[in-house]
């Protein structure tokens, strides 16, 4: 009972896997969908890729509350900025607003963020804003607890100048690999593709993801296996 109460009162955190990748023409943002309170999965289908403007999106990790608030404030500031500017905000401006809030409140916030988008001046850009409020422009960025399992993967698989399909496949594969090993990541894989033509959202449910080591193809029931089995040993005593 005590551990359940502890769970109910634990801060909502997004043990997460988030990824942002540039490709030849734009960016792909990807994330898992698990939000946990302690050991309980509070939301198994959350959307961690949040819109800041028509052309800039944000991947959120860390404290769910902190990252939501930061994104809300920045969305508000960017909206005003767009009105004053008379044209869409650039990815760099959005990333720097995120940085300002993260840096100036570094003692109180726990949010690891990836900003990605497309603007007409610089094309597709990805900016990482980790804990502390450092801003780092990168060809690709990974974050969240699941990202620890992906450093080696990306070191090997990342290539410059990928096509949109290659890049999206890479992102989905990566999030799926992280989900396989990180208890704090799970659910579905969501991707957002941003380029000069606009924004596309994709959804890859858990049962459609590839299987990795020691994972088995999902079945409806043991009974199906028994009835369809031609092998003599479906039940071993």
């Amino acid at each position: 009972m005590d551990s359940i109460m502890k769970d109910l009162n634990s801060p909502h955190s997004m043990g997460t896997t988030i990824i942002g990748v540039t490709y030849d023409g734009g960016v792909i943002l990807g994330a898992d969908s698990r939000t946990s309170t302690g050991l309980y999965v509070a939301n198994r289908a959350s959307d961690k890729i949040t819109q800041l403007t028509d052309n800039v999106y944000l991947c959120r990790s860390g404290s769910a509350a902190d990252s939501q608030l930061v994104s809300d404030y920045v969305r508000h500031f960017l909206h005003q900025h767009t009105i004053q500017l008379g044209q869409p905000a650039t990815v760099k401006v959005a990333a720097n607003l995120i940085r300002l809030l993260s840096y100036n409140n570094k003692n109180m916030l726990q949010a690891g963020l990836i900003v990605g988008g497309w603007d007409k001046y610089e094309g597709g850009k990805i900016y990482g804003v980790p804990l502390g409020g450092t801003i780092v422009e990168q060809p690709f960025a990974i974050g969240g607890s699941g990202s620890t399992y992906l450093y080696g993967f990306f070191d090997q698989e990342w290539k410059d100048g990928m096509t949109k399909d290659e890049a999206e496949k890479l992102v989905v594969k990566a999030v799926s690999l992280a989900i396989a090993r990180d208890g704090a990541s799970g659910g579905v894989v969501r991707t957002v593709i941003i380029n000069s033509e606009g924004v596309t959202r994709n959804f890859y449910p858990g049962d459609k993801l590839p299987l990795w080591h020691e994972e088995l193809p999902p079945q409806n029931s043991l009974l199906d296996i028994l009835s369809s089995s031609s092998s003599p040993e479906p039940m071993v005593s």
């Binding site: 404030y73 809030l101 100036n104 003692n107 980790p130 502390g132 801003i135």
Partner: protein, 242 residues
């Protein structure tokens, strides 16, 4: 205990009392030496996140105005903030339009004041800085720590560099080093750091500043040497040891 936050602006937190923080993304050693024509500085391009080497292309050597070069170790976000302060300082200096420009000694003093005053508020900028430059033929090389300790010397280093690089420099540094000799000396120090500093990364930049101007090299990597006989079979005759 709840802290009442009186936020006067949404983009800054002035009302609440902050205290010494923890660094998150950190850079390791910076080394600086005076040589015949000016100053040489070296730093690797690593940004560590605890024990993970998270970023491998962080530029930790930056130009400041016409005459100075700043290298930083420690929290990268605080370094980025210091660069913004310096940007403003140089901008205002240029706006005077009086033909004068801030030299390395002045910039070093400005940085010292910033670091020391933040330390007094128990809210330090978590960096160790190396500031070098040449103005009117005078070479200047100084360092400032996160608590405001500052000094000027012919060779300085931050972090691990203090323990691993400066002994080498004490033996081998001379007043009249040529550019080639200076670079070789820095590379010897950086290679040593690569062997012995866990947060070092094999991708570095070397910067040179002289009366004529400043250049920061392209990132490059150093060869390392592992072919010692003693490394081949270290436990022969003492199985189980290392």
């Amino acid at each position: 205990m709840v802290s009442s936050q009186s936020e006067s602006g949404l983009l800054s937190s002035e009302g609440d009392s902050q205290r010494t923080q923890y660094p998150y993304v950190t850079g390791t050693s910076v080394i600086g030496i005076k040589y015949k024509d000016g100053i040489l500085m070296a730093a690797d391009m690593g940004g560590s996140y605890g024990s993970t080497i998270r970023y491998k292309s962080v530029e930790r050597l930056k130009q400041v105005g016409k005459h100075s070069l700043l290298g930083a170790s420690g929290e990268i976000s605080d370094f980025q903030e210091i660069l913004r302060y310096l940007d403003e300082l140089i901008l205002h200096d240029n706006m005077w339009d009086d033909g004068n420009s801030l030299g390395p000694k002045e910039v070093h003093n400005y940085l010292t004041r910033i670091m020391y005053n933040r330390r007094n508020k128990f809210d330090p900028l978590w960096n160790s800085l190396v500031l070098g430059g040449v103005k009117n033929g005078q070479k200047y090389l100084g360092s400032v720590s996160m608590i405001g300790v500052h000094f000027e010397d012919s060779h300085v280093a931050t972090g691990f560099g203090n323990h691993l690089a400066r002994p080498i420099l004490r033996e081998e540094w001379r007043e009249d080093l040529s550019f080639e000799e200076g670079v070789k000396l820095l590379e010897k120090c950086m290679r040593n750091l690569l062997y012995r500093d866990r947060s070092a990364v094999n991708k570095l930049q070397i910067a040179k500043i002289t009366e004529d101007g400043l250049t920061i090299s392209q990132p490059y990597s150093l060869k390392t040497f592992w072919n010692f006989g003693a490394f081949q079979n270290p436990t022969v005759g003492a199985e189980g040891s290392w």
